[in-house]
């Protein structure tokens, strides 16, 4: 039996002013999967993630999350429904400490589940247990808890950004180019961690320039060209597809 559908984009058109960045994008992410979107610069990958998380509003089309229509909702509402985004370029809060950065993730915990205050003095048990989970994934963050986020290395900042997104215990994690600007070894570690996160039950939608790594990691892949899906299929098949090998894998 196929897993339940978690996220669905139907013919989504997003504009930057007069420029149409998404020209009818339709994708589907099922629960428990890692789905990747690959494509060239300007294909609309990041725009797609920004549209899902509500930062950009689609002009037409619909987005469904767990069966609910989330098109046009405010980003904070979407975050509270269980979609957590790790934005491109990490966008951590450089002047806050590592710990404070992680606590920021708690704003997305809905109040009715007894939302934790990120205030240290009221740092509840739940906040601590979530911090411990993140530290278990990224031990280096535990050592640097009190350091300002901006002083971390690129790889550590990426870990921090992922850790921050996990603090709200999301159902769906959106990752925008997690390997960007990282040394191959560090990028490899990040990809390993993404797999680990997924095994613990978090569905992942990954955007990557590094097509080979993304396809090896994921269950299903979408190739974006000019704001729409050019090719889709199980990642293993895409890895062996002649056209993809030529255009995106450089063979």
């Amino acid at each position: 039996m196929p897993a339940a559908e978690m996220l669905k984009l139907e013919d989504v058109h997003t504009f930057y002013g007069p420029v149409e960045a998404l020209k009818g994008l339709s994708i589907e992410v099922r629960q428990g999967e890692i789905v990747c979107m690959i494509g060239n610069n300007g294909a609309g990958k990041s725009t797609a993630l920004m549209t899902i998380s509500g930062v950009l509003k689609p002009r037409t089309g619909a987005i469904f999350f767990c069966g609910e229509r989330i098109t046009g909702l405010a980003p904070h509402t979407i975050a509270r429904m269980g979609i957590s985004q790790v934005p491109e370029g990490r966008r951590i809060f450089p002047k806050l400490t590592v710990r404070e950065n992680l606590e920021m993730g708690l704003y997305a915990v809905p109040a009715r589940r007894g939302g934790d205050s990120p205030n240290r003095s009221s740092g509840s048990d739940r906040c601590e247990s979530r911090l411990e989970k993140v530290f278990a994934l990224f031990p280096v963050l535990k050592d640097r808890q009190k350091q300002a986020g901006g002083t971390l290395s690129g790889g550590e900042q990426q870990m921090l950004a992922i850790g921050r997104a996990l603090m709200s215990e999301p159902k769906l994690l959106l990752l925008d180019e997690p390997s960007l600007g990282l040394a191959p070894l560090v990028a490899h570690r990040i990809f390993k961690t993404i797999q680990e996160i997924n095994r613990e039950g978090v569905t992942v939608l990954l955007v990557e320039q590094n097509a080979r790594a993304a396809l090896r990691l994921s269950h299903k892949g979408y190739v974006l060209e000019n704001g729409r899906v050019a090719l889709e299929g199980p990642s293993g098949e895409l890895l062996n597809d002649e056209r993809i090998r030529k255009t995106y894998l450089g063979e």
Partner: protein, 370 residues
């Protein structure tokens, strides 16, 4: 060579106003100063980091971090609570103005320093607080304490109402709209003769009383301002380290990241505007009670700029910094009263020098979040 050219150019500008002899003197003085500065400047640049490192070594010592700096606020509170017994009335008068500006600057610091929203019309909320008390008191004889919640409530509500449309804008556009709001408020006060008595202002405002004690004397009024200032410092510091304060700082650092973290950015920005306006309203009511007279002249755009300067001078977002900034910018014109017409010039030069050597403000180098 360069100092000579600059000197010549400046003295040529000077020539039409003061005649050739003064221009020559000006040329000699300015070019020799610039020459000397050219020699000294590189050394100053090396001395400043060394001084900072020395300060840090000193302030990092256990004795300093554990004994001196926690007790510093208490020492300041003790010193200021004894002030009326130590100084002449003139200084007490200045101290009251310092207190009012500390409240104002801390209020603006919430908007500009914490949430990162440039508000150039902050004086409007100050004016609303002042006029609210002035009108309630002179028209209906309502006392200070009864009128205070209304004055503060009015300016808070105004902050909220301005924020609703203004927060659709960002950066420069927001600054322009707030500037416009400040000017509109002043012009309304200036022209709404039947209510505000226009440019003549409202006089005969009663000073506050506490039970049956009249707080008309300078000493008692000083304590009132002192307590209000302490309350402002305490409350803004507490709010900054709360969930709301952390959200403000996140919005200032990266609004998009903050919104994807689940922070309702519009709502928190509204809070920042209203919370900042709240303190401006308090300062306004106190100001009206102190002066016992209000007129639109006290609430010009320059006043907004002055308050903003206090925040920037001390270091955006830093509460001790903003307090020190307000102290300096109220005290400096008083100290410079001797040189009368040049004092604004000196003040401006001082600000420029500070921005060259310490662009982050006096206290801005430290971490902003608690």
């Amino acid at each position: 060579m360069k100092p000579l050219i600059i000197g010549l150019w400046l003295s040529l500008l000077f020539l039409p106003f003061k005649g050739p002899e003064a221009a020559l003197w000006f040329f000699l003085i300015s070019s020799s100063t610039l020459c000397a500065w050219k020699e000294v400047a590189p050394r100053v640049r090396t001395v400043i980091p060394a001084l900072e490192a020395g300060m840090r070594r000193l302030t990092d010592r256990a004795f300093f971090t554990e004994t001196v700096s926690p007790s510093l606020p208490y020492a300041a509170i003790a010193a200021f609570s004894l002030l009326p017994f130590l100084v002449r009335d003139y200084f007490l008068d200045v101290a009251i103005m310092v207190g009012i500006y500390v409240i104002l600057a801390l209020g603006l610091n919430v908007v500009v320093g914490f949430a990162g929203l440039l508000n150039l019309g902050f004086v409007a909320f100050y004016a609303l607080g002042a006029y609210a008390y002035a009108l309630l008191n002179t028209s209906w004889g309502i006392g200070f304490w009864t009128a205070l919640p209304f004055a503060v409530g009015l300016s808070t509500a105004a902050g909220f109402l301005l924020a609703v449309p203004a927060l659709r804008l960002r950066g420069d556009y927001l600054a322009i709209v707030t500037l416009g709001f400040g000017e509109i408020t002043r012009l309304v006060l200036n022209n709404f003769d039947s209510l505000t008595r226009g440019p003549n202002g409202i006089s005969g405002i009663a000073p506050p009383s506490f039970f049956s004690i009249h707080l008309g004397t300078l000493t008692l009024f000083y304590y009132l301002v002192f307590l209000a200032t302490l309350a402002t410092i305490f409350v803004t510091a507490r709010v900054r380290s709360s969930k709301i304060g952390r959200a403000w700082i996140a919005i200032r650092e990266d609004e998009i990241a903050a919104s994807t973290m689940g922070i309702n950015t519009t709502l928190y920005k509204l809070y920042a505007f209203a919370f900042g306006a709240f303190w401006a309203g308090l300062a306004g009511a106190i100001f009206a009670a102190k002066m016992r007279f209000v007129s639109p002249e006290s609430f010009t755009f320059l006043e907004s700029v002055l308050i903003l300067c206090m925040v920037i001078l001390g270091g955006l977002g830093s509460i001790p910094g903003v307090v020190v900034g307000a102290f300096i910018l109220v005290l400096l014109p008083e100290v410079l009263r001797e040189v009368q017409i040049y004092r604004m010039l000196a003040l401006g030069a001082g600000l420029v020098i500070l921005m060259v050597f310490r662009p982050q403000g006096l206290f801005g180098g430290k971490r902003v979040s608690p």
